[in-house]
């Protein structure tokens, strides 16, 4: 194995910093504390959303438990001018893009398909169709290239795009086609694959006989394998890949090796297909614990900070509980909006039909 194939790790599961010949972290103590805070808060967000689903307030939820470091580490490497395309599991990335957790819940409660303002957050809504968005992201990156928004040397305006997807998605044609377009046009894109070991019930080895990052070679882009439970390393490799993209050096594939600690979604029962001992193995590698140990041992994490953070987490959860229940159901007639840019005779007629049904229902 040469250096390329080795997994990048900057903090191990005991909370010890590791030096890597290729990547140095630029994060100071305050930045590390802030990443820690993000991870604690999104874990709380995830826990609360799961509970809301159990209470019947959400139709479904896809937990991110265990993937906090991959999502926060990469998400915090983004700049505001960048653009994100993600799957249904990237609540932590949405958090980094400033999306309010209650907005996220609208999708899972079934009140909206695209639950937040994509243009404002520069991240489009959860993509459910596996892999489809890898091509959209690549096209967006091609656009940035065509528009001359890369390689100017101005770090505040040069743009990069990130496509998030899972290990399962690596099998879809769309993702593989995206690699080809991105390398052909040297597009400013980072493909961030969270290999959480499972695609519902199928282990990663069902999708690939080699490390996913090694696929990159055949397509002609750099492939980096990073410890996905190491927030410092995830931040470092994503920062570098984004810089490459913004400066016009082309695409990168990052495989963040992590673990889906929870169920695929709240409809799933992982005891049907995986051993509890796997969970135990990965629990030892928890992404939050290791940073906490480091921060604690080095006197960076103070008791007051912890207390305040716990209170923040509790009030976030409380707000989610209250505001989720207050989310208005859409007006039935809204289903006819936005099918086309203008009006459409068939739809207008059907809308009138429903208006009549609704008014009759009110009378009865």
């Amino acid at each position: 194995m040469d250096l390329q194939d080795r997994i990048v790790q900057l903090i191990d599961s005991t909370g010890t910093l590791i030096s890597d010949p290729r990547y140095q972290s630029t994060l100071n103590d305050a930045a590390l504390l802030s990443l820690y805070q993000d991870m604690v808060l999104i874990r709380k967000l995830d826990e609360q959303a799961t509970a809301l689903q159990r209470q019947g307030e959400l139709g479904l939820w896809a937990p991110l438990l265990g993937q906090e470091a991959a999502q926060i580490g990469s998400g915090r490497a983004l700049k505001s001018q960048d653009y994100v395309f993600s799957t249904y599991r990237e609540h932590g990335v949405a958090w980094c893009r400033g999306v309010d957790p209650v907005e996220m819940l609208r999708f899972w409660r079934g009140t909206m398909h695209q639950p937040w303002d994509a243009n404002f957050h520069r991240m489009y809504g959860y993509q459910v169709i596996i892999g489809a968005h890898a091509l959209h992201a690549t096209g967006y990156a091609m656009g940035a290239h065509l528009a001359g928004r890369i390689g100017t040397g101005n770090p505040e305006t040069d743009q990069a795009v990130v496509a998030y997807f899972g290990d399962g998605a690596m099998s879809e044609g769309d993702v593989n086609e995206a690699f080809i377009f991105a390398t052909t046009y040297k597009s400013p894109i980072v493909f961030f694959c969270q290999n959480n070991q499972w695609a519902i019930s199928e282990p990663t080895k069902r999708q690939s006989s080699i490390h996913l990052s090694e696929r990159a070679k055949g397509f002609g882009l750099p492939g980096i394998r990073v410890d996905g439970n190491d927030v410092i390393a995830c931040h470092a490799v994503t920062t570098e890949a984004l810089d490459r993209a913004r400066s016009g050096e082309g695409p990168t594939l990052i495989e963040a090796v992590t673990y889906r600690m929870g169920a695929h979604t709240t409809s799933d029962d992982p005891t049907k297909y995986r051993a509890g001992s796997d969970d135990d193995f990965w629990r030892e590698k928890d992404p939050i614990d290791r940073l906490k140990i480091y921060l604690h041992n080095n006197g960076i994490l103070k008791v007051e900070f912890e207390t305040e953070l716990a209170a923040k987490a509790d009030s976030l959860a409380e707000r989610m509980r209250v505001e989720c229940r207050e989310l208005p159901n859409p007006d039935a007639l809204s289903m006819f909006n936005h099918v086309y840019s203008g009006s459409d005779a068939r739809i207008d007629e059907q809308k009138r039909e429903v208006e009549v049904i609704l008014s009759e229902r009110e009378v009865h």
Binding site: G173, I200, L358
Partner: protein
């Protein structure tokens, strides 16, 4: 007679088909150890092995494309598409390759492949989990498209689909998966009614409701409500959308003189239009009123909080009944 849920009937039908023919293999995402996200294939990998119940990589085009190769080799693949909304990556392989192999090889090659998928809405889930894509397939020459509405049909029709030498799109009404019903498993497959025959589920004299899959139960509910008002509705379960069993449909509509097609899929370009025109051609002089349809609207499937307003319900069917009766 035994009582099963529709889901369990699919499972038992698959098992029986696998016992009957060792060339029958199942392919799909999460169908092995997990038994499918709905558990339609539960226990089958344990009993038939990983060679016959195959967990595939996550790639629908790949699944259908390799199923075609396996069929050319002599296997009889049964593909599970996890949800209706995920069939589209395989669309090219289905409508361009699978549907045409017999024709373009002048009969030398054939593809006895069954593609099962749960379809239809009403389960409160997120985007892409409530689609009704049947019209795309029913309008594709070379494909057979069938759907079951009760456990007995689920049990027999899946077996008939598998023994068919034509490719069959087999649609399972997911929101009726837990509906129970009697299944006579003692029959031989040759004794079960053909999957291409429509069935009169309820006899009536005033108007025929033509329905399939999840809306058969909705139509029956409407018929019960209409009966209270003295209107007698005949309910037909189409079962097969391609081919349509026109003789059965025509006989009913000639008798009642009125017809309403009910389906969840959008109205424009839906199978309702096809059925209506066929009936008009054959029953023109028997019709007392125009043929109507009660369907999903011409919008993408809406967020689940308003899906009940999108899906045809008994009230909307009764509104249409009132219109044709008062014509």
């Amino acid at each position: 007679m035994s009582e099963f849920t529709l889901l369990n009937a699919v499972n038992r039908g698959l098992r029986r088909a696998m016992e009957a023919d060792s060339k029958v293999i199942l392919m799909g995402e999460d169908i092995g150890k997990l038994g499918g996200v709905f558990r339609a294939t539960e226990g089958l990998q344990k009993d038939f092995g990983e060679g016959r119940v195959i967990d595939t990589p996550l790639a629908e085009s790949g699944i259908v494309g390799t199923a075609i190769g396996l069929a050319l080799y002599g296997y009889r693949p049964v593909v599970e598409i996890q949800f209706d909304g995920f069939v589209y990556p395989a669309f090219d392989q289905i409508v361009v390759q699978l549907a045409r192999m017999r024709y373009r090889s002048a009969g030398a090659l054939f593809l006895p492949i069954t593609i099962r998928m749960p379809f239809g809405g009403g389960i409160g889930s997120v985007e892409h989990h409530g689609e009704s894509p049947e019209a795309y397939f029913a309008s594709t020459p070379g494909l057979r498209v069938v759907t079951c509405a009760d456990p007995s049909d689920a049990y027999w029709m899946i077996q008939q689909a598998i023994v068919s030498d034509d490719p069959v799109i087999f649609l399972e009404p997911k929101r009726r998966y837990y509906q129970k019903g009697e299944v006579d498993t003692t029959l031989d497959i040759s004794e079960a009614p053909s999957m291409y025959k429509a069935r009169v589920v309820l006899e009536g004299s005033d108007c025929t409701l033509l329905s399939y899959g999840p809306t058969v139960a909705t139509s029956l509910q409407a018929a019960r409500m209409a009966a209270v008002d003295g209107v007698s509705l005949e309910v037909i379960d189409l079962r097969s959308l391609s081919p349509l069993d026109l003789p059965t449909l025509i006989e009913s509509v000639k008798k009642t003189g009125r017809a309403i097609v009910v389906h969840e899929a959008s109205s424009s370009g839906g199978v309702g239009g096809e059925i209506g025109l066929c009936l008009m051609q054959s029953c023109f002089y028997y019709l007392h009123a125009p043929i109507l349809r009660v369907t999903g609207y011409d919008t993408p499937y809406p967020p689940s909080r308003i899906e009940d307003d999108y899906l045809p319900d008994a009230d909307r069917i009764l509104d249409a009944v009132e219109k044709v009766m008062g014509y």
